[in-house]
Amino acid sequence: MSKKVLIVDDSIYMRSLVRSALEEAGYEIAGEAKDGESAIDLAMETQPDLITLDNILPDMMGFEVLKVLRDEGLESKVIMISAVGQQTVINKGKELGASDYIVKPFTSESLVEVVNKVFA
């Protein structure tokens, strides 16, 4: 059974980039969220195996979303997606239980590699 992935990113192009890359790699896309609130709702609803969580969202920061999800008891794996130079954010995510991270911009291959590693 393929793993379910929830994609959280405010940019539609990024969401479609990630979706196409993961679908090609054989993952099931549980859903896409463009902001924190919808991401939380969708995550609780779909209970995905993995969440690719962009750090910069219109309503809240990615690690805040992660905190809420962990507080709610969600145990999905999380890959933080961050722009260059946000090492502090990455560290925070790791503290909150993020499995790995990836820095934007990234290629489809590198993304799949990270995701595979998380599930390995």
């Binding site: 940019s11 910069i56 722009a83 130079g85």
Partner: protein, 874 residues
Amino acid sequence: MKILYDLPIRIKFAVVLIPLIVIIICFDYLQIRHNYLDYNDSERLNITLKLGVEINQAVHELQKERSIAIGYTSSEGIKFLEELKKQRSISDAALNKFYTELGKPETSEVTIRHNDELKLLQSKFESLKGIRGKIDKRSLQSSQILNYYSEINNIALNTVDLLINETRDKEIAQQVHALIYFLKAKEEASIERAIGTQALSSKEMNDELYSAFTSLVAKEQSYIDAFLVIADAESQGSYSREISGHDVEEVDRLRNIIHLRTTFDVEPSYWYDMTTSKINSLKKVEDQISERLLSRTVDLSSSAFRKFWSFVIVDIVIGAMAMWLMSIIVSNLLANVKTLEKFTLRISQGDWSSKVSIPTKDEIGQYAKTFNVMVDEINASHDILRKERDKAKFLYHNIYRVSMLVFKNIHQGIFLLDRNFKMSKLYSKAMEKIFGVNKIAGENFSNFMRPLIIPRDLEALEMFMRHLFNEDMDEDVVNQLNPIEQVKIFNEINGVVTTKYIRVNFTRIWGKNRIVNVMVTVSDETESVLLQKHLEEAEKQKKQETEQVLSILKIDPSVIRGFLYNSKKTLKSISERYESDKESDLKMLLDFTFQTIHSLKANAVVIGLEIMSEKFHSIEETIEKLKAKEVTGKDFLTVLYEIDDADKMIDDMNSMLRKVADVYRKYPSGGSVASNIMLVDSLERSVKVLSDKMDKPVDFFFKNEENLVLSGEQVEQCKDIMLQLIRNSIKHGIEDREVRLKQGKLLRGNINVELEHPKKNTLQIVYKDDGKGLDVSEIKDKAVKKGLITDYEAKKMTDKKAVNLIFENGFSTSDKVDEHAGRGQGMSLVKSLIEELKAKFKMDYEAGKYFKLVISLPFKDDAGKIEENEAIDS
């Protein structure tokens, strides 16, 4: 650690200061270097930024050219032909500007490290010609064009990244990164434009292109996100200000249409214009960022430059001041320390005269003051010590040395006794001389004296010393007990025992209420004792001599001479007899000696020579003692000794007599007068002595009315004559008192001697006594007895002739030999003496009345008188 402690102060300073100075210099160097590097860095960044701007400009134009070329190819050469030509010239201009900038000397200096990259970039730029040719021939597909241009742009942007990504300033580095992200975003946007243009031109979009488009946009947005995260507020401001408005919104709208892929009902030129407008806006933002970076690098470089120089200047000034202060303080400190050191060195060499002068008020100054105080005090105590020393020297020279000199030279032995009767270490040199020993110091005094004095005295001495140290006893009282105040000691020097008389006195020396010592003085009185003895003897001798002289002076010299002559002869005869008659009876010999000495004694008595009569008397007594016991040969030795002594006396008297005679000879003229006086005196004395002996009181009268003086020779002879006459008168002529009283004569007989001058050249001596005169029958009897005449001749002889018999040799009227009657000389001697004087004599007598003898001497009138005058004058 100890090595550090032992270092001299200046080295210690060096040890502390030099590392400090080195550290400060290193720090300064780093600071200066840092500032210099900052300056250098910003300068270089400025240059590379300028170059980067030109590359970016070229990239910007090539991006446009790429889009136009793709549009041109996609439209099958229908569209964008004009735009392509126009854009190519613009691109070339931008490339030329890049080459110009690259050719600048300062640029080539800075970019030397990136030569490889720049060369690659140049070769890529040059490959443009071929690409353009292929585009013109339309032999390239759109995707190929995209790839060619994108490769060029990629290399260009990487080169920019390398060129500018080399600053040490974090803030600038961050902004440089922001710019690079921005440039990458812009490149993606440019590709998006190209793909969009292609898709809209061909009115279709396959999956590959779609995916590339989506990825491009996502990438672009990611880069923009990164840019916005790290860009500063101004860049963000520029971005939000420039990237807004209609054209930007249109690009978003058109992009969504492309993304939906449902309809491509959009004019590609419109897309191109809108995206170009947006890209131009992006370019504006980029330019603004570049501008700001450039100005910031300029600011940075100038501030670094300013900092560098101000630091250098401040450093030099502060460093110089610090060095100046340090050198002043350290040199002052060192100088002070040196001064102190010199001072202490001087003091250690004994120079106390100077003071140390350190004017500073720090600890060293205080030390110096303290030193001065100390030196003053030491000097003061030095002075005191010197004075004490001088005093001691003075005392030594004036007291101790003198005492020592005294001790060395004094003839008295001096030492001290302590309470244990030990003798002091110091004692006068005379001690050794007196006692003949060197072992004196520390000896016990009684042990010392033990061999020298008799045990009884030693015992007394020990008791006496105990009393000496008894404070309760009076010193004067104790000193009366001194058993060795004057003592005879016997000491042995080189085996010879000598006797000394020493006097030892003790004087107490008091401490506080206590007798500490007793001073003992020892004087050698041997010489004085001996001298005293000697004196006593000399006194005796002198007395004897005086007596001898007196005797000689009293008695007629000729009498003495005769006596001495006879005595010596007699004594000699005794000695001779002793020698020849050794075998004979000792008793007889003794008797003979006694008689002889006795007669000599009688002679001495007669002439009044008491000293000799006493001597002979003592011999008589010695013999008397011998008579009482059994006589041995030995016993005669004492007698002989005494006789010898008497002989010596006779010799002495002879020499004395000669001396007197010498005196007479010296004064021959005056001698006569004296002799005359002495003659009278001697006669008078003879009368007195004889009359006393015979117990016949006789008075002697001498008459010389004319003061006649006999010559020296005459005096001698006359004296002998007179003495003989006087002896005869007293012995034979003058009767005993009873007879005289019977005959009615005066009890006292008298003898008259008168000097007369009856005629010229004649001097008459008249001798007359008032005795019984001559007894003719007695004379005749004696003469018969002596065998001078026979009985017959005696009867026949006239009275006148008979009396002349008395002048015969061998006639002696006395039977008994005694000291007064001489040795049978008598009138015969008188006669011969008168004859010697060439004088005449006439005898007269009246039996029972008187005896008279008149001697007529030749006489020189004048001479006698002159002599008298001279004698009176002298």
